[in-house]
Protein backbone atom coordinates (compact mmCIF):
# COMPACT_ATOMS: atom_id res chain seq x y z
CA UNK A 1 0.00 0.00 0.00
CA UNK A 2 2.70 2.45 1.06
CA UNK A 3 4.53 1.56 -2.13
CA UNK A 4 1.92 3.36 -4.22
CA UNK A 5 2.40 6.53 -2.19
CA UNK A 6 6.21 6.64 -2.52
CA UNK A 7 6.22 9.35 -5.23
CA UNK A 8 4.38 11.63 -2.79
CA UNK A 9 6.35 10.64 0.32
CA UNK A 10 9.72 11.28 -1.33
CA UNK A 11 8.93 14.97 -1.85
CA UNK A 12 6.49 15.69 0.98
CA UNK A 13 8.82 14.35 3.71
CA UNK A 14 11.67 16.86 3.14
CA UNK A 15 9.19 19.67 2.46
CA UNK A 16 7.35 19.25 5.75
CA UNK A 17 10.58 18.72 7.66
CA UNK A 18 12.00 21.92 6.12
CA UNK A 19 9.29 23.81 7.99
CA UNK A 20 9.42 21.64 11.12
CA UNK A 21 13.19 22.03 11.64
CA UNK A 22 12.59 25.67 12.56
CA UNK A 23 10.26 24.54 15.34
CA UNK A 24 12.52 21.66 16.43
CA UNK A 25 15.35 24.20 16.63
CA UNK A 26 13.51 26.03 19.41
CA UNK A 27 13.72 22.87 21.50
CA UNK A 28 17.14 21.50 20.59
CA UNK A 29 19.57 22.59 17.90
CA UNK A 30 21.39 19.30 17.50
CA UNK A 31 18.05 17.51 17.01
CA UNK A 32 17.67 19.44 13.74
CA UNK A 33 20.65 17.56 12.32
CA UNK A 34 19.18 14.17 13.15
CA UNK A 35 15.75 15.22 11.87
CA UNK A 36 17.24 16.39 8.56
CA UNK A 37 19.35 13.25 8.27
CA UNK A 38 16.35 11.03 8.99
CA UNK A 39 14.26 12.84 6.36
CA UNK A 40 16.97 12.55 3.73
CA UNK A 41 17.17 8.84 4.64
CA UNK A 42 13.41 8.48 4.12
CA UNK A 43 13.74 10.12 0.70
CA UNK A 44 16.69 7.88 -0.17
CA UNK A 45 14.78 4.70 0.69
CA UNK A 46 11.68 5.96 -1.16
CA UNK A 47 13.77 6.64 -4.25
CA UNK A 48 15.23 3.14 -4.12
CA UNK A 49 11.69 1.76 -3.75
CA UNK A 50 10.55 3.82 -6.74
CA UNK A 51 13.48 2.63 -8.86
CA UNK A 52 12.70 -0.96 -7.90
CA UNK A 53 9.02 -0.52 -8.82
CA UNK A 54 9.87 1.14 -12.12
CA UNK A 55 12.31 -1.64 -13.06
CA UNK A 56 9.83 -4.39 -12.24
CA UNK A 57 6.51 -2.86 -13.40
CA UNK A 58 7.36 0.08 -15.67
CA UNK A 59 6.22 3.70 -15.59
CA UNK A 60 4.49 5.08 -12.49
CA UNK A 61 1.89 7.80 -12.89
CA UNK A 62 0.97 9.47 -9.60
CA UNK A 63 -1.96 11.89 -9.60
CA UNK A 64 -1.69 14.55 -6.94
CA UNK A 65 -5.03 14.97 -5.18
CA UNK A 66 -6.58 12.40 -7.50
CA UNK A 67 -7.05 14.90 -10.37
CA UNK A 68 -6.90 13.31 -13.79
CA UNK A 69 -4.11 14.52 -16.08
CA UNK A 70 -3.92 16.79 -18.08
CA UNK A 71 -6.02 18.92 -15.68
CA UNK A 72 -4.30 17.96 -12.46
CA UNK A 73 -0.59 17.84 -11.75
CA UNK A 74 0.85 14.44 -12.51
CA UNK A 75 4.07 12.91 -11.24
CA UNK A 76 5.34 10.70 -14.01
CA UNK A 77 8.22 8.41 -13.10
CA UNK A 78 10.01 6.43 -15.78
CA UNK A 79 13.48 4.87 -15.75
CA UNK A 80 15.27 8.18 -16.20
CA UNK A 81 13.45 9.94 -13.33
CA UNK A 82 13.86 7.03 -10.95
CA UNK A 83 17.59 6.85 -11.74
CA UNK A 84 17.98 10.61 -11.16
CA UNK A 85 16.02 10.43 -7.90
CA UNK A 86 18.44 7.87 -6.47
CA UNK A 87 21.41 10.08 -7.40
CA UNK A 88 19.90 13.23 -5.90
CA UNK A 89 18.75 11.65 -2.65
CA UNK A 90 22.02 9.74 -2.18
CA UNK A 91 24.14 12.89 -2.55
CA UNK A 92 21.70 14.79 -0.32
CA UNK A 93 21.90 12.16 2.42
CA UNK A 94 25.71 12.11 2.34
CA UNK A 95 25.93 15.91 2.31
CA UNK A 96 23.66 16.30 5.30
CA UNK A 97 25.65 13.65 7.15
CA UNK A 98 28.83 15.49 6.18
CA UNK A 99 27.61 18.95 7.25
CA UNK A 100 27.42 18.14 10.98
CA UNK A 101 30.76 19.66 12.05
CA UNK A 102 30.51 22.56 9.61
CA UNK A 103 27.13 23.66 10.90
CA UNK A 104 28.55 23.63 14.43
CA UNK A 105 31.65 25.57 13.44
CA UNK A 106 30.40 28.08 10.86
CA UNK A 107 26.91 28.95 12.00
CA UNK A 108 26.17 27.71 15.53
CA UNK A 109 23.24 30.10 15.95
CA UNK A 110 21.66 29.29 12.61
CA UNK A 111 21.60 25.48 12.58
CA UNK A 112 17.78 25.07 12.25
CA UNK A 113 17.60 27.58 9.38
CA UNK A 114 20.58 25.94 7.68
CA UNK A 115 18.96 22.50 7.69
CA UNK A 116 15.65 24.03 6.69
CA UNK A 117 17.34 25.42 3.55
CA UNK A 118 19.16 22.16 2.86
CA UNK A 119 15.87 20.27 2.95
CA UNK A 120 14.19 22.91 0.80
CA UNK A 121 16.96 22.49 -1.77
CA UNK A 122 16.41 18.72 -1.64
CA UNK A 123 12.64 19.23 -2.08
CA UNK A 124 13.21 21.41 -5.13
CA UNK A 125 15.64 18.98 -6.73
CA UNK A 126 13.39 15.96 -6.15
CA UNK A 127 10.42 17.93 -7.48
CA UNK A 128 12.29 18.97 -10.64
CA UNK A 129 13.13 15.35 -11.25
CA UNK A 130 9.76 13.77 -10.54
CA UNK A 131 7.22 16.23 -11.92
CA UNK A 132 5.37 15.66 -15.17
CA UNK A 133 4.01 19.17 -15.50
CA UNK A 134 5.86 21.92 -17.37
CA UNK A 135 4.72 24.82 -15.18
CA UNK A 136 5.23 22.88 -11.97
CA UNK A 137 8.80 22.36 -13.14
CA UNK A 138 9.30 26.14 -13.33
CA UNK A 139 8.14 26.60 -9.74
CA UNK A 140 10.42 23.83 -8.52
CA UNK A 141 13.40 25.23 -10.46
CA UNK A 142 12.85 28.47 -8.56
CA UNK A 143 12.51 26.71 -5.19
CA UNK A 144 15.84 24.98 -5.85
CA UNK A 145 17.49 28.21 -6.94
CA UNK A 146 16.22 30.32 -4.04
CA UNK A 147 17.49 27.74 -1.56
CA UNK A 148 20.83 27.80 -3.42
CA UNK A 149 21.11 31.60 -3.30
CA UNK A 150 20.48 31.65 0.43
CA UNK A 151 22.91 28.80 1.16
CA UNK A 152 25.70 30.28 -0.97
CA UNK A 153 25.43 33.60 0.87
CA UNK A 154 26.41 31.83 4.13
CA UNK A 155 29.95 31.36 2.82
CA UNK A 156 33.00 33.65 3.04
CA UNK A 157 33.24 37.44 2.54
CA UNK A 158 32.79 37.37 -1.22
CA UNK A 159 29.84 34.99 -1.15
CA UNK A 160 26.95 37.55 -1.00
CA UNK A 161 28.14 39.20 -4.21
CA UNK A 162 28.63 35.82 -5.92
CA UNK A 163 25.17 34.79 -4.76
CA UNK A 164 23.63 38.06 -6.00
CA UNK A 165 25.16 37.62 -9.46
CA UNK A 166 23.90 34.03 -9.53
CA UNK A 167 20.45 35.30 -8.53
CA UNK A 168 20.27 37.86 -11.35
CA UNK A 169 21.47 35.43 -14.03
CA UNK A 170 19.61 32.41 -12.63
CA UNK A 171 16.26 34.18 -12.33
CA UNK A 172 16.59 35.51 -15.88
CA UNK A 173 17.19 31.91 -17.01
CA UNK A 174 14.12 30.64 -15.18
CA UNK A 175 12.09 33.51 -16.72
CA UNK A 176 13.16 32.42 -20.21
CA UNK A 177 11.96 28.92 -19.37
CA UNK A 178 8.65 30.45 -18.22
CA UNK A 179 8.21 32.26 -21.56
CA UNK A 180 8.76 28.93 -23.31
CA UNK A 181 6.03 27.34 -21.18
CA UNK A 182 3.76 30.30 -22.02
CA UNK A 183 4.23 29.80 -25.76
CA UNK A 184 3.46 26.10 -25.46
CA UNK A 185 0.35 26.87 -23.43
CA UNK A 186 -0.90 29.38 -26.01
CA UNK A 187 -0.28 26.91 -28.82
CA UNK A 188 -1.79 23.82 -27.21
CA UNK A 189 -3.70 24.78 -24.07
CA UNK A 190 -1.92 22.09 -22.06
CA UNK A 191 0.85 22.02 -19.49
CA UNK A 192 1.14 18.27 -18.93
CA UNK A 193 4.36 16.91 -20.48
CA UNK A 194 2.86 13.64 -21.73
CA UNK A 195 -0.09 15.56 -23.18
CA UNK A 196 2.25 18.06 -24.85
CA UNK A 197 4.17 15.20 -26.48
CA UNK A 198 0.98 14.19 -28.29
CA UNK A 199 -0.37 17.67 -29.02
CA UNK A 200 2.76 19.41 -30.29
CA UNK A 201 3.41 17.49 -33.58
CA UNK A 202 0.44 19.31 -35.15
CA UNK A 203 2.19 22.68 -34.69
CA UNK A 204 5.79 21.58 -35.39
CA UNK A 205 6.02 23.90 -38.41
CA UNK A 206 5.11 27.12 -36.53
CA UNK A 207 7.62 29.84 -35.70
CA UNK A 208 6.16 30.29 -32.23
CA UNK A 209 7.15 26.74 -31.34
CA UNK A 210 10.66 27.34 -32.66
CA UNK A 211 10.92 30.42 -30.42
CA UNK A 212 9.62 28.43 -27.45
CA UNK A 213 12.18 25.70 -28.10
CA UNK A 214 15.06 28.16 -28.04
CA UNK A 215 13.72 29.91 -24.94
CA UNK A 216 13.71 26.50 -23.23
CA UNK A 217 17.22 25.62 -24.37
CA UNK A 218 18.74 28.98 -23.38
CA UNK A 219 16.90 29.10 -20.04
CA UNK A 220 18.01 25.60 -19.06
CA UNK A 221 21.53 26.17 -20.37
CA UNK A 222 21.88 29.11 -17.98
CA UNK A 223 20.70 26.96 -15.08
CA UNK A 224 23.03 24.07 -15.93
CA UNK A 225 26.04 26.39 -16.46
CA UNK A 226 26.50 25.30 -20.05
CA UNK A 227 29.28 27.16 -21.89
CA UNK A 228 29.06 30.11 -22.72
CA UNK A 229 26.37 30.77 -20.08
CA UNK A 230 28.40 29.42 -17.17
CA UNK A 231 29.55 32.79 -15.74
CA UNK A 232 27.83 32.48 -12.39
CA UNK A 233 29.12 29.04 -11.42
CA UNK A 234 32.80 29.33 -10.40
CA UNK A 235 32.32 32.22 -7.97
CA UNK A 236 29.10 30.86 -6.53
CA UNK A 237 30.54 27.40 -5.80
CA UNK A 238 33.97 28.61 -4.74
CA UNK A 239 32.68 31.04 -2.12
CA UNK A 240 29.81 28.88 -0.84
CA UNK A 241 30.20 27.16 2.55
CA UNK A 242 32.12 23.87 2.33
CA UNK A 243 29.18 21.95 3.72
CA UNK A 244 26.85 22.80 0.82
CA UNK A 245 29.19 23.16 -2.15
CA UNK A 246 29.44 19.36 -2.45
CA UNK A 247 25.65 19.05 -2.43
CA UNK A 248 25.18 21.72 -5.10
CA UNK A 249 28.13 20.58 -7.21
CA UNK A 250 26.84 17.02 -7.19
CA UNK A 251 23.22 17.69 -7.99
CA UNK A 252 22.08 21.08 -9.34
CA UNK A 253 23.80 21.08 -12.75
CA UNK A 254 23.08 17.38 -13.19
CA UNK A 255 19.35 17.74 -12.50
CA UNK A 256 19.28 20.64 -14.98
CA UNK A 257 20.96 18.39 -17.54
CA UNK A 258 18.15 15.92 -16.90
CA UNK A 259 15.61 18.73 -17.50
CA UNK A 260 17.33 19.46 -20.82
CA UNK A 261 16.93 15.81 -21.86
CA UNK A 262 13.30 15.88 -20.71
CA UNK A 263 12.49 19.01 -22.71
CA UNK A 264 14.33 17.97 -25.86
CA UNK A 265 13.09 14.39 -26.01
CA UNK A 266 9.85 14.20 -24.01
CA UNK A 267 8.04 17.54 -24.36
CA UNK A 268 9.35 17.80 -27.90
CA UNK A 269 9.51 14.44 -29.62
CA UNK A 270 13.02 13.34 -30.64
CA UNK A 271 12.25 13.95 -34.32
CA UNK A 272 11.80 17.68 -33.57
CA UNK A 273 15.15 18.06 -31.83
CA UNK A 274 16.92 15.78 -34.29
CA UNK A 275 15.61 16.68 -37.74
CA UNK A 276 13.19 19.63 -37.73
CA UNK A 277 15.45 21.97 -35.75
CA UNK A 278 19.09 21.05 -36.30
CA UNK A 279 20.25 22.15 -32.86
CA UNK A 280 22.47 19.18 -32.06
CA UNK A 281 25.57 20.35 -34.00
CA UNK A 282 25.35 23.71 -32.21
CA UNK A 283 25.12 22.00 -28.81
CA UNK A 284 27.97 19.70 -29.79
CA UNK A 285 30.34 22.52 -30.75
CA UNK A 286 29.44 24.49 -27.64
CA UNK A 287 30.11 21.45 -25.46
CA UNK A 288 33.52 21.00 -27.11
CA UNK A 289 34.07 24.65 -26.14
CA UNK A 290 32.89 23.90 -22.60
CA UNK A 291 35.22 20.90 -22.22
CA UNK A 292 38.30 22.80 -23.37
CA UNK A 293 37.43 26.12 -21.71
CA UNK A 294 36.63 24.49 -18.35
CA UNK A 295 39.87 22.50 -18.26
CA UNK A 296 42.10 25.34 -19.49
CA UNK A 297 40.73 27.79 -16.94
CA UNK A 298 40.99 25.12 -14.23
CA UNK A 299 44.72 25.08 -15.03
CA UNK A 300 44.94 28.78 -14.20
CA UNK A 301 43.34 28.51 -10.73
CA UNK A 302 45.09 28.17 -7.40
CA UNK A 303 42.14 27.53 -5.07
CA UNK A 304 41.00 23.91 -4.89
CA UNK A 305 37.26 24.61 -5.01
CA UNK A 306 37.78 27.01 -7.90
CA UNK A 307 39.59 24.28 -9.85
CA UNK A 308 36.76 21.83 -9.25
CA UNK A 309 34.16 24.46 -10.20
CA UNK A 310 35.79 24.91 -13.61
CA UNK A 311 35.95 21.14 -13.97
CA UNK A 312 32.17 21.05 -13.47
CA UNK A 313 31.79 23.33 -16.51
CA UNK A 314 33.86 20.81 -18.48
CA UNK A 315 31.79 17.91 -17.11
CA UNK A 316 28.55 19.58 -18.21
CA UNK A 317 30.15 19.72 -21.65
CA UNK A 318 30.78 15.93 -21.49
CA UNK A 319 27.14 15.28 -20.63
CA UNK A 320 25.85 17.42 -23.51
CA UNK A 321 28.31 16.11 -26.11
CA UNK A 322 26.94 12.59 -25.63
CA UNK A 323 23.40 13.81 -26.28
CA UNK A 324 24.47 15.80 -29.32
CA UNK A 325 25.98 12.76 -31.06
CA UNK A 326 22.40 11.43 -31.42
CA UNK A 327 23.67 7.88 -31.05
CA UNK A 328 22.44 5.27 -28.60
CA UNK A 329 25.89 4.66 -27.24
CA UNK A 330 26.67 8.37 -26.80
CA UNK A 331 23.37 8.94 -25.00
CA UNK A 332 24.15 5.97 -22.74
CA UNK A 333 27.48 7.64 -21.95
CA UNK A 334 25.74 10.90 -21.12
CA UNK A 335 23.22 9.36 -18.75
CA UNK A 336 25.93 7.25 -17.10
CA UNK A 337 28.12 10.34 -16.82
CA UNK A 338 25.36 12.18 -14.93
CA UNK A 339 25.63 9.52 -12.20
CA UNK A 340 29.42 9.34 -12.26
CA UNK A 341 29.91 13.08 -12.31
CA UNK A 342 27.54 13.59 -9.38
CA UNK A 343 29.52 11.10 -7.30
CA UNK A 344 33.00 12.22 -8.43
CA UNK A 345 32.27 15.90 -7.83
CA UNK A 346 30.75 15.13 -4.43
CA UNK A 347 33.94 13.19 -3.60
CA UNK A 348 36.25 16.05 -4.66
CA UNK A 349 34.27 18.74 -2.82
CA UNK A 350 33.92 16.53 0.29
CA UNK A 351 37.68 16.03 0.50
CA UNK A 352 38.47 19.70 -0.21
CA UNK A 353 36.02 20.65 2.56
CA UNK A 354 37.52 18.16 5.01
CA UNK A 355 41.03 19.49 4.36
CA UNK A 356 39.85 23.08 4.80
CA UNK A 357 38.06 22.12 8.02
CA UNK A 358 41.14 20.50 9.57
CA UNK A 359 43.94 22.77 8.34
CA UNK A 360 42.30 25.84 6.77
CA UNK A 361 44.15 25.02 3.54
CA UNK A 362 42.35 26.32 0.45
CA UNK A 363 44.95 26.63 -2.33
CA UNK A 364 47.26 24.20 -4.08
CA UNK A 365 50.26 25.56 -2.15
CA UNK A 366 48.50 25.21 1.20
CA UNK A 367 47.84 21.49 0.77
CA UNK A 368 51.52 20.66 0.29
CA UNK A 369 52.47 17.50 2.14
CA UNK A 370 48.94 16.93 3.41
CA UNK A 371 49.21 13.15 2.82
CA UNK A 372 51.22 12.69 6.01
CA UNK A 373 48.68 14.52 8.09
CA UNK A 374 45.43 13.24 6.56
CA UNK A 375 46.30 10.00 4.71
CA UNK A 376 42.74 8.66 4.44
CA UNK A 377 41.28 11.90 3.08
CA UNK A 378 44.13 12.24 0.59
CA UNK A 379 43.63 8.64 -0.55
CA UNK A 380 39.91 9.36 -1.06
CA UNK A 381 40.77 12.45 -3.07
CA UNK A 382 43.17 10.45 -5.21
CA UNK A 383 40.47 7.97 -6.19
CA UNK A 384 38.09 10.82 -7.05
CA UNK A 385 40.71 12.65 -9.10
CA UNK A 386 41.73 9.51 -10.97
CA UNK A 387 38.10 8.89 -11.82
CA UNK A 388 37.60 12.45 -13.12
CA UNK A 389 40.57 11.93 -15.43
CA UNK A 390 39.03 8.63 -16.53
CA UNK A 391 41.49 5.94 -15.56
CA UNK A 392 40.14 2.37 -15.46
CA UNK A 393 38.72 0.68 -13.38
CA UNK A 394 37.06 3.77 -11.87
CA UNK A 395 33.59 4.75 -13.06
CA UNK A 396 34.79 7.87 -14.88
CA UNK A 397 36.54 5.65 -17.42
CA UNK A 398 33.38 3.81 -18.44
CA UNK A 399 31.23 6.86 -19.12
CA UNK A 400 34.04 8.54 -21.03
CA UNK A 401 34.55 5.35 -23.00
CA UNK A 402 30.90 5.28 -24.05
CA UNK A 403 31.05 8.99 -24.91
CA UNK A 404 34.13 8.40 -27.06
CA UNK A 405 32.52 5.42 -28.82
CA UNK A 406 29.43 7.57 -29.40
CA UNK A 407 31.40 10.35 -31.04
CA UNK A 408 33.28 7.87 -33.23
CA UNK A 409 30.07 6.01 -34.10
CA UNK A 410 28.38 9.22 -35.24
CA UNK A 411 31.43 10.18 -37.31
CA UNK A 412 31.86 13.51 -35.51
CA UNK A 413 35.61 13.20 -35.02
CA UNK A 414 36.04 16.78 -33.83
CA UNK A 415 34.03 15.81 -30.73
CA UNK A 416 36.38 12.84 -30.23
CA UNK A 417 39.37 15.15 -30.44
CA UNK A 418 37.76 17.56 -27.98
CA UNK A 419 37.04 14.76 -25.51
CA UNK A 420 40.56 13.36 -25.65
CA UNK A 421 42.25 16.75 -25.41
CA UNK A 422 40.02 17.75 -22.51
CA UNK A 423 40.80 14.49 -20.67
CA UNK A 424 44.48 15.18 -21.11
CA UNK A 425 44.13 18.71 -19.75
CA UNK A 426 42.05 17.36 -16.91
CA UNK A 427 44.86 14.93 -16.04
CA UNK A 428 47.35 17.83 -15.93
CA UNK A 429 45.02 19.89 -13.70
CA UNK A 430 44.54 17.13 -11.16
CA UNK A 431 48.15 15.95 -11.37
CA UNK A 432 49.22 19.39 -10.12
CA UNK A 433 46.97 19.03 -7.09
CA UNK A 434 48.07 15.46 -6.37
CA UNK A 435 51.74 16.36 -6.78
CA UNK A 436 51.36 19.10 -4.22
CA UNK A 437 49.48 16.82 -1.83
CA UNK A 438 52.07 14.03 -2.00
CA UNK A 439 55.19 16.21 -1.95
CA UNK A 440 57.48 16.60 1.03
CA UNK A 441 56.83 19.55 3.28
CA UNK A 442 58.80 20.03 6.48
CA UNK A 443 56.71 22.94 7.70
CA UNK A 444 53.57 20.90 8.16
CA UNK A 445 53.44 18.63 11.21
CA UNK A 446 53.56 14.96 10.29
CA UNK A 447 51.33 13.97 13.17
CA UNK A 448 48.33 12.03 11.97
CA UNK A 449 45.33 14.33 12.33
CA UNK A 450 42.50 12.79 10.33
CA UNK A 451 39.14 14.35 9.50
CA UNK A 452 36.22 13.43 11.83
CA UNK A 453 34.18 10.32 11.12
CA UNK A 454 31.12 12.27 9.91
CA UNK A 455 33.31 13.52 7.05
CA UNK A 456 35.31 10.37 6.38
CA UNK A 457 32.20 8.22 6.05
CA UNK A 458 30.62 10.23 3.17
CA UNK A 459 34.02 10.47 1.48
CA UNK A 460 34.47 6.71 1.59
CA UNK A 461 30.90 6.01 0.46
CA UNK A 462 31.64 8.05 -2.67
CA UNK A 463 35.03 6.33 -3.09
CA UNK A 464 33.46 2.86 -2.94
CA UNK A 465 30.67 4.02 -5.24
CA UNK A 466 33.28 5.20 -7.76
CA UNK A 467 34.99 1.80 -7.67
CA UNK A 468 31.82 -0.32 -7.62
CA UNK A 469 29.94 1.59 -10.35
CA UNK A 470 32.92 0.91 -12.60
CA UNK A 471 32.32 -2.83 -12.25
CA UNK A 472 28.51 -2.84 -12.37
CA UNK A 473 28.11 -0.22 -15.10
CA UNK A 474 27.09 -3.01 -17.52
CA UNK A 475 24.18 -3.91 -15.24
CA UNK A 476 23.16 -0.29 -14.77
CA UNK A 477 23.08 0.19 -18.52
CA UNK A 478 21.09 -2.94 -19.30
CA UNK A 479 18.48 -2.51 -16.55
CA UNK A 480 18.01 1.27 -16.52
CA UNK A 481 19.79 3.35 -19.14
CA UNK A 482 18.80 1.24 -22.16
CA UNK A 483 15.16 2.04 -21.39
CA UNK A 484 15.77 5.79 -21.38
CA UNK A 485 17.15 6.15 -24.91
CA UNK A 486 14.80 8.31 -27.03
CA UNK A 487 13.32 6.85 -30.19
CA UNK A 488 15.19 7.81 -33.34
CA UNK A 489 18.71 7.58 -31.93
CA UNK A 490 21.02 5.53 -34.10
Amino acid sequence: MIRHQLPAIIIVAPFIMAILTNLIGLWSRSACYYAALFTAGVSLFSSIGILDTVISTGKISYRLGGWEPPWGIEYLVDHLNAYMLVIVTLIAFLSILYSYRFAEKDMPARIPQFYSLMLLLLTGLIGMTITGDAFNLYVLIEITSIACYALIAKGDDKSPLASFNYLIIGTAGACLYLIGVGYLYILTGSLNMADLTNLLPKVYHTKALLAAFFFFIVGIAIKMAFFPLHGWLPNAYNHSPDSVSAFMAGTVTKVCAYVLIRVMFTIFQPQYSLSIVPILPLLGWLSVGAMLYGCILALAQRELKNIFSYLIIAEVGYIVVGISTATKIGFTGSVLHILNDAIMMACLFFTAGAIAYKTGAKTIDDVKGIHKKMPLTTAGFTVGAVSVVGVPPTCGFFSKWYLLLGTIHSGEYHYTAGLLLSSLLCAIVLYRVLQSMYSQNNEISTKNDEAPATMLFPIYVTVFAILIIGFISGNIISTVIDKTIPIGFR
Binding site: Y138, I146, A153, P160, F164, L167, T171, I179, G182
Partner: protein, 127 residues
Protein backbone atom coordinates in the same frame (compact mmCIF):
# COMPACT_ATOMS: atom_id res chain seq x y z
CA UNK B 1 1.26 49.05 -38.90
CA UNK B 2 -1.90 47.04 -38.48
CA UNK B 3 0.27 44.06 -37.74
CA UNK B 4 1.74 45.93 -34.78
CA UNK B 5 -1.57 47.22 -33.47
CA UNK B 6 -3.33 43.86 -33.76
CA UNK B 7 -0.76 42.22 -31.47
CA UNK B 8 0.07 45.27 -29.36
CA UNK B 9 0.09 43.28 -26.09
CA UNK B 10 2.98 41.15 -27.35
CA UNK B 11 4.91 44.22 -28.47
CA UNK B 12 4.45 45.81 -25.05
CA UNK B 13 5.73 42.69 -23.36
CA UNK B 14 8.79 42.60 -25.58
CA UNK B 15 9.53 46.29 -24.94
CA UNK B 16 9.08 45.94 -21.17
CA UNK B 17 11.27 42.87 -21.12
CA UNK B 18 14.04 44.63 -23.01
CA UNK B 19 13.85 47.60 -20.61
CA UNK B 20 14.37 45.18 -17.74
CA UNK B 21 17.11 43.32 -19.58
CA UNK B 22 18.91 46.59 -20.32
CA UNK B 23 18.83 47.58 -16.66
CA UNK B 24 20.16 44.16 -15.60
CA UNK B 25 23.13 44.40 -17.93
CA UNK B 26 24.05 48.09 -18.02
CA UNK B 27 23.26 49.49 -14.56
CA UNK B 28 26.09 49.40 -12.05
CA UNK B 29 23.99 49.80 -8.93
CA UNK B 30 22.87 46.46 -7.51
CA UNK B 31 19.41 47.72 -6.52
CA UNK B 32 18.85 49.01 -10.06
CA UNK B 33 19.87 45.61 -11.40
CA UNK B 34 17.30 44.06 -9.11
CA UNK B 35 14.63 46.49 -10.34
CA UNK B 36 15.55 45.52 -13.89
CA UNK B 37 15.04 41.87 -12.96
CA UNK B 38 11.63 42.71 -11.50
CA UNK B 39 10.58 44.52 -14.68
CA UNK B 40 11.76 41.49 -16.65
CA UNK B 41 9.62 39.16 -14.52
CA UNK B 42 6.60 41.44 -14.65
CA UNK B 43 6.78 41.67 -18.42
CA UNK B 44 6.31 37.89 -18.53
CA UNK B 45 3.44 38.07 -16.06
CA UNK B 46 1.70 40.70 -18.21
CA UNK B 47 2.29 38.52 -21.25
CA UNK B 48 0.53 35.57 -19.62
CA UNK B 49 -2.37 37.68 -18.36
CA UNK B 50 -2.88 39.32 -21.74
CA UNK B 51 -3.27 35.91 -23.37
CA UNK B 52 -6.36 35.27 -21.21
CA UNK B 53 -8.21 38.37 -22.41
CA UNK B 54 -11.34 38.00 -24.53
CA UNK B 55 -13.12 40.92 -26.15
CA UNK B 56 -16.89 41.30 -25.92
CA UNK B 57 -17.59 41.79 -22.24
CA UNK B 58 -16.15 38.54 -20.93
CA UNK B 59 -15.52 38.53 -17.20
CA UNK B 60 -13.97 36.45 -14.45
CA UNK B 61 -15.59 33.02 -14.11
CA UNK B 62 -17.94 33.50 -11.18
CA UNK B 63 -21.12 31.48 -11.08
CA UNK B 64 -23.87 34.04 -11.19
CA UNK B 65 -27.52 33.57 -11.98
CA UNK B 66 -27.50 36.54 -14.37
CA UNK B 67 -24.75 34.97 -16.45
CA UNK B 68 -25.37 32.20 -18.89
CA UNK B 69 -23.23 29.42 -17.43
CA UNK B 70 -23.10 27.39 -20.62
CA UNK B 71 -21.74 30.23 -22.75
CA UNK B 72 -17.95 30.12 -22.59
CA UNK B 73 -17.64 33.44 -24.41
CA UNK B 74 -18.66 35.18 -21.20
CA UNK B 75 -15.68 33.85 -19.27
CA UNK B 76 -12.00 34.65 -19.32
CA UNK B 77 -9.59 31.75 -19.21
CA UNK B 78 -8.75 31.52 -15.49
CA UNK B 79 -5.68 29.30 -15.82
CA UNK B 80 -3.11 31.98 -16.83
CA UNK B 81 -4.25 34.08 -13.88
CA UNK B 82 -3.75 31.16 -11.52
CA UNK B 83 -0.34 30.35 -12.99
CA UNK B 84 0.73 33.96 -12.60
CA UNK B 85 -0.41 34.01 -8.99
CA UNK B 86 2.25 31.35 -8.40
CA UNK B 87 4.77 33.25 -10.52
CA UNK B 88 4.14 36.42 -8.49
CA UNK B 89 4.83 34.49 -5.29
CA UNK B 90 8.06 33.17 -6.81
CA UNK B 91 9.00 36.69 -7.91
CA UNK B 92 8.33 38.16 -4.47
CA UNK B 93 10.42 35.52 -2.72
CA UNK B 94 13.27 35.99 -5.19
CA UNK B 95 13.14 39.74 -4.57
CA UNK B 96 13.12 39.12 -0.83
CA UNK B 97 16.23 36.94 -0.97
CA UNK B 98 17.90 39.46 -3.31
CA UNK B 99 17.19 42.38 -0.96
CA UNK B 100 18.62 40.39 1.96
CA UNK B 101 21.75 39.79 -0.12
CA UNK B 102 21.94 43.50 -0.99
CA UNK B 103 21.84 44.35 2.72
CA UNK B 104 24.62 41.83 3.40
CA UNK B 105 26.72 43.30 0.60
CA UNK B 106 26.14 46.85 1.83
CA UNK B 107 27.19 45.93 5.37
CA UNK B 108 30.39 44.38 4.09
CA UNK B 109 31.44 46.97 1.52
CA UNK B 110 29.55 50.16 2.49
CA UNK B 111 28.54 50.66 -1.14
CA UNK B 112 26.24 49.16 -3.74
CA UNK B 113 28.13 50.27 -6.83
CA UNK B 114 29.47 47.24 -8.65
CA UNK B 115 32.76 48.87 -9.71
CA UNK B 116 33.54 50.12 -6.20
CA UNK B 117 32.77 46.68 -4.74
CA UNK B 118 35.12 45.05 -7.26
CA UNK B 119 37.82 47.58 -6.35
CA UNK B 120 37.41 46.76 -2.66
CA UNK B 121 37.52 43.04 -3.43
CA UNK B 122 40.78 43.55 -5.31
CA UNK B 123 42.23 45.40 -2.32
CA UNK B 124 41.13 42.54 -0.06
CA UNK B 125 42.76 39.85 -2.17
CA UNK B 126 45.86 42.03 -2.72
CA UNK B 127 46.62 42.11 0.99
Amino acid sequence: MEYIIAKYNYWMYVILMMVGFYAMIVKKNLVKKLLGLNIFQWAIIFFYISTAVKSGGATVPILHSALDTANINLYLNPLPHVLMLTAIVVGVSTTGVALALVILIYRKFQTLDEDEILDKLRELSGK
